[in-house]
């Protein structure tokens, strides 16, 4: 630590150069942090998918008859079944998109314990036909209070019998999904019976069934057992675990991984070249200085250590700044994406750690040649240059 002053002064020998180098490292890590943050946020969504929960949908992309419910319940090993529909609408302006999930309240909360709702509000939801529970962050953003009547204009799957798509709901409470990447989704939970009697078409159908099974290791067999029930019906089903369903949706978005890696790779390769050449240049300018230091009694290892520490300080310091910036930016961006129904984005600490690790490696790789030369530097040759 006593050489920190020396390292610091060495770093600021040429102010402009150091500032430019720091800025380009900051930008490279900002890019890394944002892209990896987006990537991991999506992957965490998959990891949240449970292995003992199955999702049954219609592979033709259509609805399933609610009448399937009792047959699914009768499958041995299925402990609980819930079902839901889905429609998309907006509140006051197309900017405020909301997703409405008509659910069967009792079975929905029994199977989705991550939704935390106070018992009083849950009871109010059960007893209020037009009642809805809304995400806490959504209520805050749109300044909704419990007791408010809110008009939702339906955009998709939301036609009503009366020919309009205008729904009015009463807010009976809020929910939160602590620690879940989708906690900020603009989601409304409504009562399925109200939805089903009011809608214009597809009455008596649901978008999906969600089954909890007793033994997760039997998931594949159970999925087959459920699908076999409806194999010869007009609406055959496709059942998979919650996690596999999420994975399938993610895989269809496209080659996210490939692009993140290609871009980050290009950025880091350029960075390595840049810092490498900067450090080498700084070293050449200071050959004389190093020779003097060696004359004064600095060891070979001491001099190369100084070179390495400068590179380390430069890289890791700038990387931390870049990663912190990425964290802040993702938080802002995340509140925007959550608004349109995508998962909230964030930069997990693990990505932060990986970033710092990469910074250390970059510092080592770019400082190794000058550090090696500083170590081998012969005092007489170096001083003779002048």
């Amino acid at each position: 630590m006593k050489f920190f002053g020396l390292v610091w002064t060495g770093l600021w020998r040429k102010k402009a150069r150091t500032i430019f180098t720091v800025l380009s490292i900051v930008i490279a890590f900002l890019l890394f942090g944002m892209l990896q943050g987006i990537d991991t946020s999506f992957k965490q969504l998959v990891d949240q998918g449970r292995l003992n929960v199955l999702i049954t949908t219609n592979p033709a992309g259509l609805q399933l008859p609610l009448a399937d419910l009792s047959r699914i319940q009768s499958v041995h090993g299925v402990t609980q079944v819930t079902y839901r529909s889905l429609f998309v609408g907006d509140y006051q302006s197309p900017r405020n998109i909301v997703v409405v999930l008509p659910v069967d309240a009792d079975s929905f909360f029994a199977e989705n314990s991550m939704f935390s709702v106070s018992p009083a509000e849950r009871a109010a939801f059960l007893h209020t036909r037009t009642g809805v529970l809304v995400a806490q962050s959504l209520a805050q953003r749109l300044a909704w209070k419990v007791g408010d009547q809110i008009p939702i204009h339906g955009l998709l799957n939301a036609q009503k019998k009366d020919g309009t798509a205008d729904w009015t709901f009463q807010i009976v409470g809020t929910y939160d999904i602590p620690g879940n990447p989708v906690r900020d989704q603009p989601l409304l939970l409504m009562n399925y019976p109200y939805f089903d009697t009011a809608r214009a078409s597809d009455r008596g159908t649901v978008q999906l069934f969600q089954e909890t099974i007793a033994d997760a290791s039997q998931a594949a067999a159970m999925s087959n057992a459920i699908d076999n029930l409806f194999a010869n019906s007009p609406a055959p089903t496709h059942t998979d675990t919650e996690r596999a369903t999420a994975q399938g949706q993610l895989a269809q978005i496209g080659d996210l991984d490939f692009f993140v890696e290609a871009i980050v790779g290009a950025a880091f390769a350029t960075l390595l070249l840049l810092t490498g050449s900067t450090l080498m240049q700084a070293y050449r300018e200071r050959i004389h200085e190093f020779a003097v230091m060696k004359t004064l009694g600095f060891t070979d290892a001491g001099v190369s250590g100084l070179v390495l520490s400068e590179a380390m300080l430069l890289n890791v310091g700038a990387a931390v700044v870049g990663l912190l910036l990425a964290r802040a930016l993702l938080r802002v961006l995340g509140s925007v994406t959550a608004r349109v129904g995508a998962p909230g984005l964030h930069l997990p600490w693990i990505v932060f750690g990986v970033g710092v690790g990469i910074a250390v490696l970059l510092a080592l790789a770019s400082a190794l040649p000058p550090a090696w030369r500083a170590r081998r530097l012969s005092i007489i040759d170096a001083l003779a240059v002048r």
Binding site: A16, S24, L31, A60, I253, D255, I263, T270
Partner: protein, 397 residues
């Protein structure tokens, strides 16, 4: 000596000296190559995707959807309304006087990708015929047509590549075994190349449906769309809307296209800032390495402007080289690369498309490179011009 000749002399000397500063020059070239490479690649995706979605649409055709439906998948037109709709004016008719139109239904089937992995949803479209006056751009390229009444399919060309759906392969869905008997392709990139076709009535029977998702019609000529729209709106028994097919197709890809372009410009812009700092560093270094040379030139009468131009020329030459290198990398790696993305909107079927590195993208990349080079060269150039001659010459070792 004229100013121009001075400039040429100094620029020429500076460019010939470049090989002596390889390391620093490479930082500029590679830094800018990275920026241009990423920018051009991401935009090549956007271009390829948009042209594939748009390729399914023609200004000569109209798409009729049920009222309120924003997309084919959300639309439902009862079968008994179809003859009424086809009576409407504005629809082109063939030599026998029959409307050139097709009522089509859509379903989804799950297909296993070639290399394994999660099955994807692929659109299954019930069509009247493939070689028709309605969509002359679509042709059967291998095998034969499906026969009505049998569980037979023909598949789009991109599915053949992506899912290994060849003639002779079978798919199981809707309680049946379906055989692939042919492959079709459009003459330009099209969304339809990622679909499976079967006979319209066979599909309705298999899914026990009576309604269609859409009616596609050929328009009789200019003004026919307005005519058709009016006629459909005037009939109170019909709840349908007509859209020009090309307009509809463009609207389908707009959101994703904007998103992709935005990602390209954002990531490219960030990398450009990084490359700019790298260029500033290298050019300042280049100026300080040349300080003796610059001072000598100034001492023997070369003007400051010729020095400024020489530094800027160095910056621009290196950045154009970087830009070309980046565009070349993007072109060799990705031009013609088949990628796939969800087809936007609610239907969410993966659409295969070919990335297109077009000349205009390459030009855009070079322009970016020049802007970065110019910005990175300006301040070092000014410093070079302001170099105190006496002190620089004094510093001689």
């Amino acid at each position: 000596m004229s100013a121009l000749r001075q400039i040429f002399a100094v620029v020429g000397m500076n460019l010939r000296n470049l090989p002596q500063r390889t390391g620093a020059s490479l930082v500029i070239v590679i830094g800018i190559a990275g920026v241009v490479g990423v920018l051009v690649s991401v935009l090549a995706m956007a271009v390829g995707f948009a042209s594939t979605i748009a390729g399914a649409g023609s200004p000569d055709r109209a798409l009729i959807l049920s009222g309120g439906a924003l997309q084919e998948a959300m639309s439902n037109i009862p079968g008994d309304a179809v003859p009424n709709i086809l009576e409407a004016p504005g629809i082109a008719r063939d030599a026998q006087g029959r409307p050139i139109a097709a009522a089509e239904s859509l379903a989804q089937v799950q297909v296993q990708p070639k290399g394994g992995g999660k099955p994807s949803n692929v659109a299954l479209r019930g069509v009247a015929s493939v070689e028709s006056e309605l969509r002359p751009e679509i042709h059967l390229v291998a095998g034969r047509m499906f026969r009505p009444g049998l569980h037979e399919l023909i598949v789009g060309r991109s599915l053949e590549e992506r899912y290994g759906l060849n003639i002779g392969s079978h798919l199981q869905f809707q309680n049946g075994d379906w055989a692939v008997v042919g492959v079709f392709a459009s003459s330009r990139p099209s969304l339809l190349d990622s679909e499976i076709f079967t006979d319209s009535q066979t599909l309705l029977a298999a899914y026990q449906r009576t309604g269609f998702q859409s009616i596609t019609v050929r328009l009789a000529g200019p003004g026919a769309l307005e005519q058709l729209k009016h006629a459909l709106a005037a009939d109170p028994t019909l709840h349908v809307n007509a859209y020009q097919e090309s307009t509809y197709a463009a609207a389908q890809s707009r959101v994703l296209n904007t998103l992709l372009s935005w990602i390209g410009y954002f990531v490219g812009g960030m990398m450009a800032a990084g490359a700019l700092f790298g260029a500033l560093n290298s050019l300042y270094a280049s100026v300080s390495a040349r300080s003796l040379e610059i001072a000598t030139l100034r001492a023997i009468g070369f003007s400051p402007s010729s020095v400024v131009v020489s530094v800027l020329a160095e910056a621009l030459a290196l950045s154009v080289a970087g830009g070309l290198l980046g565009a070349l990398c993007a072109w060799t790696l990705f031009d013609g690369h088949v990628s796939s993305m969800l087809g936007g909107g609610v239907q969410q079927n993966p659409v295969a498309f070919t990335m297109q590195v077009t000349p205009s993208l390459v030009v855009l990349g070079i322009i970016w490179a020049c802007v970065i080079g110019f910005a990175g060269g300006l301040f070092p150039a000014i410093r070079a011009a302001r170099l105190p001659i006496a002190r620089a010459l004094n510093a001689v070792v």
